[in-house]
Symmetry: C3
Subunit: 309 residues, 3 copies
C-alpha cells in the first residue's frame, strides 16, 4: 500500500516531498505504458464518481479518461442543474449518498472549502478538482509534471508567471509547488492584478527567489518557461482599462523569438487572446501537451489513493 | 430463466410474493458478492439506457452503478432539455428508437402512466424509475430490503410513516408492500397532508393494521422503524402554515431517545430539516445505508428482467 | 489497414465507391455478429469522445452504443452549456485538448464547416455528426444501408423524397448517394420548399434521373421507397400557410395502400405528424429499423477509421 492510499487530494501544498515524487513517478510509469499500447487494468471493477457542481469540461473529461484508461468505470453529474443539490440537499448528504455507489469521488464546486467538506463527510478518497477561490491541486501537479517532461528537470529553472496573478488559484498553487523545487519565479501582471502580498510573503518565507516586474519582454528573455494565464474581462470595473491592459500580457511569436532558444510556453487553457495562435506551431508551445498530461497525472492519483498503483 | 425474465417493473404492487422474494434474495446474493470483492459479469456485453425526462441524480446514478457493477455498460439522457422529446417527439417514438440501442430501459418521466406507455411501445424490459404522481417501485423495493436488513425480518414490525403522506408516491408504494409483509402501520402527518382515504381503505381491505395519528412522539415510542419523508413548501398556499406545520414532523435525537433502543430511522432522501444532522451519528440512522441498498436491488432487477441473474 | 484508416468522415459525397462499399459490408458483418450474440472487442482500450455542441440525443446515443458494442469506452459532452466553448474557447482549441484524451472524435456543431475545422486541427480521426446546414454523412450512410437491407439492393429502385427538400441536409446528402447507385428520384415538396436548383442541377450532371412533382399520391404509386421528412413550422412566416401545406406531405395508411405491395416507408426521425401512427404496424414501415441501423453503420465507421475493423 502506497503512502497515499485512502488519502484525499485537497491541496497541492499538503503533499509531502515523498508523496509528490510518488505522484510524478507513477504518472511517468502510466504514460509510458499508454505509449507502449499496454492495456491497464488497475481500476478494473472500480467506479469513479465525477461530481461537477460547476461545469468544467476539460477537467471532467480528463479525469474520466484517466479512469477509463485504467480499466475502471465512471458515473457522472456534469450539470449542476440536474443535481440533488438543486433541490436543496447539503453537500455532505450528496457525497454520502454517492459514497454508496462509488469507490473514489472527484468533486468540483464553486465554494472554497467544499472539497474539504466533502472529504470530511465520507470514507472513500476525495480528489479536489477545483473549489472556487480555493485550490485546484491536480492542475498544479500536471503543470509541474509538464515542466519536468519539457525541460528534463525543474532544478535551476527560471519560470515566468504572467497574467492575472491576483485571482488565479492555478498560479497560486503552482507557485508554492515550484518554490519547493527551487525554481526562480518572475511574476508579471498588470497593475491591480499582482500576486497577493500574503502569498508572496509566504513564498519568500519558504525560500523562494521571486522578482515582480511589469516588463514582460525582459521576463521572457530571462526565462526557461513562461506560464501564461488569462485576464478575465469581468475582473475590471472599467472595460476601457481591460482593453488597455490585456495587451500587456500577450505572448506572440515576436516575443517568443526574444527568448532563449527552445523556451517553453505553457497555459492552463482555455486560451483566449493571451497567446497568439501563430505560436501553436512553435515546438516549445507546450499547452496542448500540458492538457494531455492531465491524464497520466490523474491516473496516478486515482490509482494511488485507491491503493491500486 | 427466472419468473421475471423479460417482464417490465412498473408498479411494486404488481409483483407476486414469489417475484418479490426473488428480487430480495437476488439482491442479497449480489450484495454479498460485492462485499466479498467478486467481480460480476452478468450484464457483460449488455447496454442499459437510462432516460431521465425529469432529473433525479440519486436514482440515475444508482441504476448506472448497478449496471456497471454487473459488468454492463450505460447510455444516458440525464437532461430533458437535450432530449428528442424537447423537439416534440412522442414518448413511444423516443423509446422505440432507444430500443434499437439498448437491452433494457430505465425511465423517469413527470407524467403518471408514462412508464406503462413506454413499456407498451417496446419489446425490451422497461423499469419505472418514477412516473410523476404514479409509482417509484424500485424505491419501495429498496425500502423493504433495507428494513429486512436492518431488522432481520419484517414480520411483526411496527413502522411509522411520517411527513407528507398525501402526495408522497414513495410512501404509497411502500405502504402497499409493507401490508403484504404483515407490518403494522402508524401514519403521522400534518393536517391536510394525510394519506388519501382511498389508499387507506385499499390497505385495510388488504388486511393492513393501520392507525392514523398526529402525535409523532407517541408513534415513535411504539415503532421499530420510523420512515420520515419531506414536507414540501410548495404544497402549501400559505407559507406561514408551512412554517408552523413542518416542525411537527421533525425527528431529532431528543425524539429518537424516546423510542425503543436501536429504533431504525429511514428517509428516501434528499433530506432537508426533517431529520436533524445530529441523528446521523446514531447507529440506527439507516438513511445513507438505505440509499446504498438501491444498488443491489437495482442489480437484482436488471439481471432478473434480462434473464441474467 | 483499411483504405479508411485514419481518415475523417466529413461528407458522404467524398467517399469513393470502394470506401462506401467497405462501410456497408463492414456494417453488415458487425450486424451479423451482434445478432449472433458475439461479443466484439475491436475497440477495446480505445476511447471515443462525443462532442455535441448542439443537442441530438438520437445521434449521440447511437454513436455511444456503437462504441460500447465494439468493446470501447466513451467520454461525452452532451450539453453545449457545460462546455468550454461556452467560455469562449475556439473549436480548434477544444478539439486539440480532447485529442489528448480520445482516440476518435465525433462532433456535432451548429456551424457549417465546423467538422472540417475540427478535423484540420487534430491528428485523430473526426466523424461529422451534423454541421448545421452542412452535412450529416452517417445519416445518409445508414439510410442507404437501410434501403439495401429492406429491398435487397438499390439497383433499379424508384425512391420518393418528400417534405422539406429545401432545408433538409439529410435529403441532400442522401440524394447524392442514391444517384451514385443509379436510383430514380421523385422529389415531392410543398411550394417554396423544393430541392435547391443547384443541387438538382448537380445531381443531373452526376447522371441522376430526377422528377419533381407536387402529387404525393402519384409518387407513392410509382415508388419502391418513400422517404418522408418533417416540415418545420418555423420555416414559414405565415402560420396559416404552414397549416395548409403540412397536410400535403402526410403519409397515412390510405396512401400506403395505394402504393406497390410491400412499399418501404422511411423517416430520419423524430417524426411529428408526417406519418400517421397507424402506419407503424405496417410491415414496410422501416423507420425504427432505420434508426437501429445507425448502430452497425457507426460501428463500421469507428472501427474503419481507427484501423480496427
Amino acid at each position: 500500500m502506497s503512502i497515499l492510499c485512502r488519502k484525499d487530494i485537497l491541496r497541492s501544498d499538503l503533499l509531502s516531498d515523498e508523496e509528490l515524487g510518488l505522484v510524478l513517478s507513477t504518472a511517468t510509469r502510466f504514460e509510458g505504458a499508454l505509449k507502449a499500447g499496454d492495456r491497464l487494468a488497475n481500476m478494473q471493477g472500480q467506479i469513479l464518481a465525477t461530481l461537477f457542481f460547476e461545469p468544467s469540461t476539460r477537467t471532467r473529461l480528463s479525469f474520466e479518461t484517466a479512469m477509463l484508461r485504467l480499466g475502471g468505470q465512471v458515473i457522472t453529474v456534469a450539470d449542476p442543474q440536474t443535481s440533488s443539490a438543486a433541490k436543496g440537499e447539503s453537500l455532505a448528504d450528496s457525497v454520502r449518498t454517492v459514497e454508496g455507489y462509488a469507490d473514489v469521488i472527484v468533486i468540483r464546486h464553486p465554494r472554497k472549502g467544499s472539497a474539504q467538506e466533502a472529504a470530511d463527510a465520507v470514507e472513500v478518497p476525495v480528489i479536489n478538482a477545483g473549489d472556487g477561490a480555493g485550490q485546484h491541486p491536480t492542475q498544479a501537479l500536471l503543470d509541474v509534471y509538464t515542466i519536468q517532461k519539457e525541460r528534463g528537470s525543474l532544478r535551476g529553472l527560471t519560470v515566468s508567471l504572467t497574467g492575472d496573478l491576483k485571482n488565479g488559484r492555478t498560479v497560486h498553487s503552482l507557485a508554492y509547488l515550484l518554490t519547493r523545487f527551487g525554481v526562480r519565479l518572475l511574476l508579471i501582471s498588470p497593475p491591480g492584478l499582482e500576486m497577493p502580498a500574503e502569498i508572496s510573503a509566504d513564498l519568500r518565507r519558504a525560500g523562494a527567489q521571486i522578482r515582480e516586474d511589469s516588463d514582460l519582454a525582459a521576463a521572457v528573455r530571462a526565462s526557461d518557461v513562461v506560464y501564461v494565464t488569462r485576464i478575465q474581462r469581468e475582473r475590471f470595473e472599467d472595460p476601457a482599462q481591460y482593453e488597455r491592459l490585456k495587451g500587456s500580457c500577450v505572448v506572440d511569436m515576436a516575443l517568443v523569438r526574444q527568448g532563449k532558444p527552445g523556451i517553453t510556453i505553457m497555459h492552463p487553457l482555455p486560451r483566449m487572446d493571451e497567446i497568439g495562435t501563430e505560436v501553436d506551431g512553435y515546438e516549445g508551445a507546450a499547452y496542448f501537451r500540458q492538457a494531455a498530461n492531465g491524464v497520466p497525472i490523474r491516473m496516478a492519483l486515482l490509482a494511488l489513493v485507491t491503493g491500486r498503483e
